[in-house]
C-alpha cells in the first residue's frame, strides 16, 4: 500500500482513472444541514432500495459526500457523472431515485429544482459561486482515499517534494498573497517567513478547526467534506517550514469531523504520505487530532496552544510571536483549516494563478455560511471581493417573504452589523474591517426589518460574556456591564445616555483587552451603534421600531393596507386582534402581549410597530 515515490502515486491515480467508465454514483449530501434533515436515513433507504433492485454495487454506487450547499432544501443528492441535482429527497423517494436516477441515469423531474437544466450550477444560488475549497464536495466520498487521489489529491505534495523544494514552496505561498481564513486575514506568507528565521526544535504546524462562532459551519463542512485537503495542506506546510509534527484542533461538538480527519490521517500514513520518509524522501512528518473541550476562547491562537498543552484555554500576552515561541514554546505556525486547504492549490498552481482569483490584496475564494432571512441559505464559496449584494440578492435570492433588508451581521461575535449601504461593499478582509465589521471565519447572517440591532448586540454580548475566559479585567468585568445595559435597553428599562455610555465602554474594551477575541468583543456594540444609533436612542426612550423587543411597541394595523385575510388574528396568542371575517382587523393595545407574531404573519406589511405613547 505504501507509495515509495512519486511514480507510484501517479500510477495509482492512472489506475483509478482507467476504471470502468460505466460506473454511476449517487452522492448523498452529508453536510451538517442535510444530516439534520435526515440524509443518514435517506442514505440507508437508498442502499436498501439498491439491494432490492439488484443493481451491481460495483457499478452503481451510493455514498455520502461533502456539503452541497443549499442546506435549506435538503436532503440533497447529486448524480455522478450526469451532474443531476435533486433536492428535498425523502426516504420514500428511494425506490424511484434508485430505479430512475442511479439505474438509468435519468432525471426524476419532481425532485429537481430546475428540470430544464438539471445541474445545480444552473440555479441562481450557485451561479456567482466559485467552488475551489469545496471543489470535491459532491464529487467524492470524503472517507475514500482513492476518491481524493483520483481527483488530483497529492499532486501538490509531489510537486513540492520533487520539483519545488522547501524554498520555492514557501515562495509560492508568500507571493500568492494568501491571507488567514480564520478571522483577521493575516498574510500567511509573513507567518511562514517568520518561522523560517526562528530557532528551536521540534517545530509545529497547527490547524485551527475550533469553529466556535455561532452561525458558522464552514470549517466543519470542510473537515467533513474534504479532510485530506487539510491533511495535504499541513504536510506541504510542514515540508516548507521544516516542521516534524502537526496537530489539528477540532471543536468538541464536531465528532464526525474528528472521525473523518482521523480516517484521512490513517489512510495517508498507511500509504507513506505521513510518517517517516514520506514518498521515500528524508522528509518525515506526522499529524494527529486534538479535540477541544467546549470553550469559544480556544479559537484564539495562544489559548488553543494552552489547551493542547493540557492547561486552561486562557490566552497569553503575545509580544513574542508563535512563530518564535508557540506550542511548548517552540516555533509554530497556526492557521485555520481553510487556510491550510488553500495550500495544495497554491503549491500546485503557483501564486499567479491564485492571484487571478478574487480581488487585489484579497486573492482566492472564501467559504461563507449564509443564514438568517434570505430565501436561500446554506454554504457558499465566493471569490473574495464579490459584492455583499450579490451574496444576499443573487445567491441568497433576496430577503424572505418579500420583507425589507435591514442589515448583515458578518464575522459572528467578533464581527459587526452593517446596514443597507453594505450591499455595495466588496466582501473582503479590508472592506469589512473598514466598515466596522470583520470577515471572521465567514458567517453571514442576513437580517430583515423585523430584526433589531440592539437585540442582536445584546445577543452577541451575552454570548461573549458567557464565553469570556475571565483572565483580563476589561473582558471579564466590562462585558457583563455592557450586557446589562443592553438588556435594560431591550426590556424598556434603558436610561438616557446609555448609548453614549455603551459606545465609550466598548471603545475602551477594544483598546485594553488582552487578546484578540477580547478586543473584538466590542465590535457588535460598536458597529450597531455606528450604523443604527437612531434605533439605540429610540430604545433609551422605550421604543423598538422593529417590533422585536417585547413591550417596546404596539402593533398598529394600517387599514389602507390590510386585506382582511385574518392571518394576524390566527397567530395572536392573546386574542388582541379584533375584527370579523372579511373585515379589516384592529389590535387592542391593552390586550397585546408584544410577541410580534402578527408582524411576522402579515403578508401585506400592513402592521407597524408603533411607539406606545402614540397609540390611544
Amino acid at each position: 500500500m505504501r507509495f515509495e515515490g512519486p511514480a507510484a502515486v501517479a500510477a495509482r491515480r492512472e489506475e483509478l482513472a482507467r476504471k470502468d467508465p460505466d460506473v454511476r454514483t449517487l452522492r448523498v449530501c452529508g453536510g451538517p444541514g442535510c444530516l439534520a434533515s435526515g440524509s443518514r436515513e435517506l442514505l440507508a433507504a437508498l442502499k436498501e432500495a439498491a439491494v432490492a433492485s439488484g443493481l451491481d454495487p460495483a457499478k452503481r454506487r451510493i455514498s455520502f459526500t461533502g456539503c452541497l450547499g443549499l442546506c435549506e432544501r435538503g436532503p440533497l443528492l447529486e448524480l455522478d457523472p450526469e451532474g443531476h441535482f435533486l433536492r428535498g429527497v425523502a426516504p420514500s423517494d428511494a425506490a424511484e431515485v434508485v430505479g430512475t436516477a442511479l439505474g438509468e441515469g435519468k432525471l426524476v423531474p419532481r425532485l429537481s429544482p430546475n428540470p430544464e437544466s438539471p445541474e445545480k450550477e444552473s440555479l441562481e444560488f450557485y451561479g456567482p459561486q466559485k467552488r475551489l475549497i469545496m471543489r470535491r464536495f459532491g464529487k467524492i466520498d470524503p472517507e475514500s482515499f482513492d476518491d481524493y487521489l483520483a481527483t488530483g489529491g497529492y499532486e501538490a505534495l509531489v510537486i513540492s517534494l520533487f520539483e519545488s523544494g522547501p524554498a520555492e514552496t514557501l515562495r509560492r505561498v508568500a507571493e500568492s498573497g494568501l491571507r488567514g481564513r480564520g478571522g483577521g486575514g493575516f498574510p500567511a506568507g509573513l507567518k511562514w517567513k517568520a518561522m523560517t528565521g526562528a530557532k528551536g526544535t521540534p517545530r509545529y504546524v497547527l490547524a485551527n478547526g475550533d469553529e466556535g462562532d455561532p452561525g458558522a459551519f464552514m470549517n466543519r463542512s470542510l473537515m467533513e467534506g474534504d479532510p485530506l485537503a487539510v491533511v495535504e495542506g499541513l504536510t506541504i506546510g510542514a515540508f516548507a517550514l521544516g516542521a516534524e509534527r502537526g496537530i489539528i484542533y477540532v471543536r468538541n461538538e464536531y465528532p464526525l469531523s474528528v472521525a473523518r480527519l482521523e480516517k484521512a490521517i490513517a489512510g495517508a500514513r498507511a500509504r507513506g504520505l505521513l510518517g517517516e520518509n514520506i514518498l521515500g524522501t528524508d522528509f518525515s512528518f506526522d499529524l494527529s487530532v486534538t479535540e477541544g473541550g467546549g470553550a469559544f476562547v480556544c479559537g484564539e491562537s495562544t489559548a488553543l496552544m494552552a489547551s493542547i498543552e493540557g492547561r486552561e484555554g486562557t490566552p497569553r500576552v503575545k509580544y513574542v510571536r508563535s512563530t518564535e515561541a508557540g506550542l511548548w514554546d517552540k516555533p509554530t505556525v497556526l492557521q485555520n483549516v481553510e487556510t491550510w486547504a488553500n495550500v495544495p492549490l497554491i503549491a500546485a498552481n503557483g501564486p499567479e494563478w491564485f492571484k487571478g482569483i478574487g480581488a487585489k490584496g484579497n486573492p482566492g475564494t472564501k467559504v461563507f455560511s449564509l443564514a438568517g432571512e434570505t430565501r436561500n441559505t446554506g454554504l457558499v464559496e465566493l471569490p473574495l471581493g464579490t459584492k455583499v449584494g450579490v451574496l444576499v440578492n443573487v445567491v441568497g435570492g433576496g430577503v424572505r417573504k418579500g420583507r425589507r433588508f435591514k442589515a448583515i451581521q458578518s464575522g459572528g461575535p467578533s464581527g459587526g452589523c452593517l446596514p443597507e449601504s453594505a450591499l455595495e461593499l466588496p466582501l473582503d478582509f479590508d472592506h469589512l474591517t473598514e466598515a466596522g465589521a470583520m470577515m471572521g471565519s465567514g458567517g453571514i447572517i442576513v437580517m430583515d426589518d423585523l430584526s433589531c440591532p440592539v437585540d442582536v448586540a445584546r445577543y452577541f454580548t451575552g454570548f461573549l460574556a458567557e464565553e469570556s475566559c475571565g483572565k483580563c479585567v476589561p473582558c471579564r468585568e466590562a462585558l457583563p456591564v455592557l450586557r446589562e445595559v443592553l438588556s435594560d435597553l431591550t426590556r424598556g428599562s434603558g436610561r438616557k445616555g446609555d448609548t453614549d455610555f455603551l459606545e465609550k465602554q466598548a471603545g475602551l474594551l477594544k483598546e485594553t483587552a488582552l487578546c484578540g477575541l477580547g478586543q473584538s468583543a466590542a465590535n457588535p456594540v460598536l458597529s450597531t451603534i455606528r450604523h443604527f444609533r437612531e434605533e439605540y436612542l429610540e430604545h433609551e426612550s422605550g421604543y423598538c421600531r422593529s417590533g422585536r423587543c417585547r413591550g417596546l411597541y404596539v402593533p398598529v394595523i394600517d387599514p389602507g393596507a390590510c386585506r382582511a385575510c385574518g392571518s394576524c388574528q390566527k397567530v395572536c396568542p392573546a386574542g388582541a386582534v379584533g375584527g370579523k371575517k372579511k373585515e379589516k382587523r384592529t389590535v387592542a393595545a391593552g390586550k397585546c402581549v408584544g410577541c410580534g407574531a402578527c408582524l411576522k404573519a402579515c403578508a401585506f406589511f400592513a402592521i407597524r410597530a408603533e411607539r406606545k405613547e402614540h397609540v390611544g
Binding site: V317, Y319, V320, G470, R476
Partner: protein, 258 residues
Amino acid sequence: MSGERSGERFRDVLRGTIDGKTVVARRGATVLETAESVGIRIPTLCHREGLPPDGNCRLCVVETKGKLVISCMFPVREDGFAILTQSPGVREARRFVLSLMLNRAPKAPAILKLAGEYGAGADPRFSRDPDNCVRCGRCVRACRANRTEAIALVGRGFERSVSGPFEKPPPDCVGCLSCAFVCPTGNILYSERDGKRRIWDKEFRLVPCPECGTPVFTEEQIRFLGEKASGLCPECGRRRLASALRNAEPLSGGSRGF
C-alpha cells in the same frame, strides 16, 4: 513568557524616550523596568517582582506608536522607542480598568488610592456582591512559584475565582502564607493563635525554633522544603523563606484577621 526567554540575552543598548526624557534601555527589557530605572513610576497591580508576569489587570498600560501596550510585559526592542506613560489615552484606560476593579473591590485601600489618582469611581449600577478580590492571580502565581500549586483560578468569565480543588481546603497547601503576602487587596485572611495557623480553612501546627522559640514554619512547610529548612534557627529560616518567596513583605496590612 517574554521575560524568561533566553534569546533575549543580547547586551545591546537601545536609546529612546519615555515621556520625552531620553532613556537608555537594555534590549528586551520591559518598558516597566526601563521606566523604573529612571525613576518614572507606572502603576501596577497584577505585576509583582519575583513572580512571572501575567498582564491581566491592564493597569500598567502605556502608549507607543499610537497604541496601548502593557508595560510589565512589552519589551523594548528598537532604537528610537518613544513611550508615553501619562497620555490622555493612557489615563483614560487606567480610569476604565480601575472603575471595573472597584466594582469588585470597592474598599481595597490599594485600589482606592489609585482610583483617586485617576478619577475612577465605582458605578452603583454594576457593583454587586463585591468580594474584595480582583482576580489578579498573584496568590496563584506565588503558590506556583513555590511549587506547591495548591490553589488556582477556577471557572471562567465573571464567575472566575481563586479556590482550592473542589472549593475545599486545598490539600497541597503547606500554610506558607505566600498567597496572603502578595495579595494586593488584603483579601486572603489567616490567623495565628496558640501555636497554630489557620488559612484556607486549614489548620497548621507551627514549629518553634529550638534556639529562641519563635514559631515560623508549619510542619507541612518543613516537610515540603525538606533538607533546605532543617537545622536553621527561625531567623535564618525567616531569611530563607523570604528569599524563597523573593520580596514577600506583607502588603497593606495583609495579616488581618488575628
